[in-house]
Point group: C2
Chain length 162, copies 2
């Protein structure tokens, strides 16, 4: 597996798992009915943001990440990032590799920290992964996320200094 910059031509390979993940509605605070065009606009970033894909030896897209300044102006020295891994390729360390890649990018770009604004508390594997990469929960919006079954869980703000 390697990680490279995403190109416009990669979107048709990202969209199937992007759609599956957003439609499931249990891990991302995105509308569940995003169209391909809306998804593409939100995910495929240009500078100062960046979008990458993780691909295997034969070029199959396994996952993707986007990274960007989390705020503008006086807040633009803190980066943020988002990640999606194709469900059929879960458990292969792709999320971890993408996480490490985005942290390396943020350090190289001179960001002083990385912040995730909305990590679903019930998504315990993601929370554990980000903790293992150095992030801490610095606050939780109580009942900030409604799961598809109608129950509520917290939305973590996670952060690490770089």
């Amino acid at each position: 597996m390697r990680i490279r910059d995403a190109e416009p031509a990669d979107w048709p390979a990202i969209w199937p798992f992007f759609r599956t993940i957003t439609a499931a509605g249990d891990t991302y605070a995105y509308p569940r009915d995003l169209t391909s065009e809306q998804g593409r606009e939100g995910w495929m970033l240009s500078a100062p943001g960046r979008t990458v894909v993780a691909v295997d030896e034969d070029g199959t897209v396994l996952g993707s990440a986007k990274m960007n300044p989390n705020q503008g102006g006086g807040g633009s020295h803190v980066a943020s990032a988002s990640y999606m891994v194709a469900p059929e390729h879960a458990g292969r360390g792709i999320g971890r590799a993408l996480g490490e890649h985005t942290l390396a990018w943020a350090r190289a770009e001179g960001y002083r920290g990385m912040q995730f604004n909305a990590v679903v508390e019930a998504n315990v594997r993601a929370v554990a992964l980000w903790r293992s990469l150095g992030f801490e929960v610095i606050g939780t919006v109580p009942e900030g996320f409604r799961l598809p079954d109608g129950s509520y869980t917290g939305l973590h703000v996670m952060y690490q200094a770089l």
Copy 2:
């Protein structure tokens, strides 16, 4: 003073203080060099968001607020809001009135909470105002905001259940 829905024709009256506040760079994590067009696009919201103006008896625009869902999908039951008061009208309770108005709107629209994502810790008057309206600091991004003098201050995440 009364608070009413903003109309497109209000933007020329909002822009002077919007520009002053964003160019100062000490209270908002917005780019400091936003154009009028960029400011208008970001501030003048349509449904499900909403933008209001506070006006005095002769129609002078004293301040403005925008309000919107803070996240999409499973996070769309938590509102957010932003406020700007013309500096020459500070100290008249306009920020407080706008804050109360947005909270009433959020309750009426059925939101379960209101969240501010990025309140500058050094903006002690704003932090005190939001506390007095029921918000609590639920987390702080350490050194999340760079002040114009080059020093760093925290960025608070503030929240209250509705």
